[in-house]
């Protein structure tokens, strides 16, 4: 009853069992964490802590951007920003072989800049781009695969819910994390577009060129990009430049998107209600998982598991880079079963203290550390790598939420085709992870320039 590793394994098995019998992940964590604390330290301790724990977690200031960015994404859907983005991108790229799929990727990236969720990005851009891809007789596998993969950009391009949650857990600066994600995010867009180019090079019929737009259409479609650019510029530009902190910035973003939707005549009581309901579902789901993760964390701390695991890894004498790669591999494997947010919440409170130990403590500097960077930099670098690999879970079988969403939109294309179509993008993502592992500057350069 005292060995932390045994207790930890029992808890983990219980958690997996509960999740496997379709108990919501949040409640599985609440149950295992809560019962675990009650068994180890007595029920009274748990009951006492529950008097304020939930209020404390739900009122974390840094998390307040989460419901705001979700609302901003919902209002962006109402405002029809996704159509405008795709049409604009297609005017520029659509004439090429594979161009319409590339435009879908670019549209996903643009939408990702105002939306913090992969699922919302996949489903909105899917609705907009799929009909066009069909019109030009795209191969079903490429069309759905590109959209499922493109959805991932919703979270890889800031703002990003998962990144905010990661920053809150490891106490990183959200602005720094957003800055760090930008270049890797742009890299993803470029690599995804290159992937499409290679696919159509091998299989030209997969992505026939679309017709060239008329001059008037081209101009109109391009002008349609301006509102998104302006909103993106003000919100994220304002954050990067430091003119406001993330929460006020998110509020300004909600306000601007709402004004735009109003100006387009799309913001009515009915659409607003729908946006608020969707925000309620997503935010409530996220915060409940947060509470579950906090209970799991308390249980694990109380049995002393993180300390134990960290010292075990330290004693095993594994090379630091190998440890990092194993951690990322574990996240990819876990991603086959779990959603990205639950994974970050469940796993990072373990992995992060371990990496701190390996790196030589919280105050380690670049000269003395195992990873050749200060622990503050490691926090940022690891965060971006972890973000990418947990998001891969959205496109890997058997549970790949983005694939499910796109499949639901394209019922005539078998899901296996979509998974096949996603494969090249998955490989591309592994290449990108490799690049970021080899060249930490890709992640760390921009935050260092922005400072703070």
């Amino acid at each position: 009853m005292t060995d932390p590793v045994t207790l930890g394994i029992i808890a983990l098995v219980a958690l997996v069992l509960l999740i496997a019998i379709r108990i919501p992940i949040a409640y599985s964590m609440i149950l295992v964490g809560g019962v675990g604390i009650a068994l180890v330290n007595g029920p009274q301790l748990l009951l006492s802590q529950l008097k304020t724990l939930a209020y404390g977690q739900f009122s974390i200031y840094d998390l307040s951007v989460v419901p705001m960015f979700i609302l901003m994404g919902e209002l962006a859907i109402v405002a029809g920003l996704s159509q405008a983005l795709f049409r604009g991108a297609n005017a520029w790229l659509g004439w090429m072989r594979g161009g319409t799929a590339m435009a879908a990727i670019a549209g996903c990236a643009g939408f990702g800049a105002v939306c913090g969720s992969s699922l919302a990005t996949a489903s909105t851009m899917g609705k907009v781009a799929l009909p066009e891809l069909r019109r030009y007789n795209y191969d079903g596998s490429l069309a759905t695969g590109a959209l499922a993969a493109g959805g991932v950009l919703g979270i890889l391009i800031p703002p990003s819910v998962v990144l905010i949650v990661y920053a809150v857990i490891v106490e990183a600066n959200i602005v720094t994390m957003f800055a760090a994600a930008l270049i890797p995010g742009i890299l993803a867009v470029i690599l995804f577009i290159l992937t499409i180019a290679i696919v159509v090079l091998i299989k030209p019929d997969a992505g026939p060129p679309g017709g060239a737009a008329t001059r008037a259409d081209f101009v109109q479609a391009t002008l349609g990009l301006i509102p998104v650019m302006v909103i993106f510029g003000i919100v994220l530009g304002g954050i990067y430049a430091g003119y406001f902190n993330p929460t006020p910035a998110a509020a300004v973003g909600v306000f601007l998107v709402a004004i735009y939707a109003l100006a387009r005549g799309e913001l009515r009581l009915s659409t607003m209600t729908e946006a608020l309901k969707n925000t309620a579902r997503t935010s409530g789901m996220i915060y409940l998982i947060l509470l579950g993760a906090e209970l799991m964390k308390i249980f694990m701390s109380r049995i002393g598991l993180p300390q134990q695991a960290a010292s075990w890894i330290a004693e095993s004498g594994m090379a630091p880079m190998l440890v990092m790669m194993l951690l990322l591999l574990a996240l990819i494997l876990l991603g086959c079963l779990m959603d990205s947010l639950s994974m970050i919440l469940l796993v990072i409170p373990f992995f992060w203290p371990m990496l701190v130990e390996i790196n030589g403590g919280a105050m380690a500097t670049a000269e003395t550390s195992a990873y050749g960077m200060s622990t503050d930099d490691l926090k940022v670098w690891f965060g971006i790598l972890a973000l990418i690999v947990v998001e891969l879970g959205l496109i890997t079988p058997p549970v790949g939420m983005n694939v499910f969403i796109i499949s639901a939109l394209a019922r005539d294309i078998p899901m296996i085709e979509t998974f096949k179509g996603v494969l090249p993008f998955f490989v591309t993502e592994l290449i990108r992870v490799g690049l970021l592992l080899l060249f930490p500057a890709l992640t760390l350069w921009l935050p260092s320039v922005i400072g703070g």
Binding site: R22, L50, K51, R281
Partner: protein
């Protein structure tokens, strides 16, 4: 504007569903209020005035709003599940598992309601308040307790509906 969530239900279940949805929308209005406060704060910063206490109102308001969302999440079955292992099961079995999940949600909501009620009394007794506006913190607990009561009600509905389906 009718709430779709109520339409497929009848009697008490429909009333609860309607209340839960309306409560979530009220939470949404609180969220919009927080948005407005922060926008005013930014706008004030530009012209040189400020909105004192925007920070603490944001903390408090978001907590109130998110608690108000929880019953709606339960009602809409919005909490993430891993369906992979149960996707092969007949619908009846899955309904039984959903009923089990609803039972857990109900028990948790009941415990939390009880504990946060005591938490509220603590906040009141010891005079917890916010730093600048000196708003008593227990005020925030009142709507939160309503949210938890609605979460119990929503869980009972999903429990009853899924248990019914499982026995079919």
């Amino acid at each position: 504007m009718a709430f779709d969530e109520a339409q497929t239900r009848s009697g008490a279940a429909a009333a609860v569903a309607q209340a839960v949805t309306a409560w979530a929308l009220l939470g949404g209005v609180v969220l919009l209020g927080i948005v407005v406060i922060n926008v005013l704060s930014v706008a004030g910063g530009i012209v040189g005035t400020t909105f004192p206490g925007d920070f603490e109102l944001t903390e408090m308001g978001i907590a109130i709003a998110v608690f108000a969302f929880l019953p709606y999440c339960q009602l809409m079955d919005a909490n993430v599940t891993a369906d992979i292992f149960t996707s092969g099961l007949p619908e009846r079995r899955v309904a039984a598992l959903r009923a089990l999940a609803a039972l857990i949600a109900m028990a948790f909501a009941a415990i939390l309601l009880w504990r946060m009620y005591l938490g509220m009394l603590d906040q009141k007794t010891y005079n917890y308040m916010t730093t600048i506006l000196q708003v008593p913190v227990w005020w925030a607990f009142v709507p939160i307790l309503v949210s938890l009561a609605l979460l119990i009600a929503a869980s009972i509905i999903s429990l009853a509906e899924n248990a019914g389906e499982a026995r079919r």
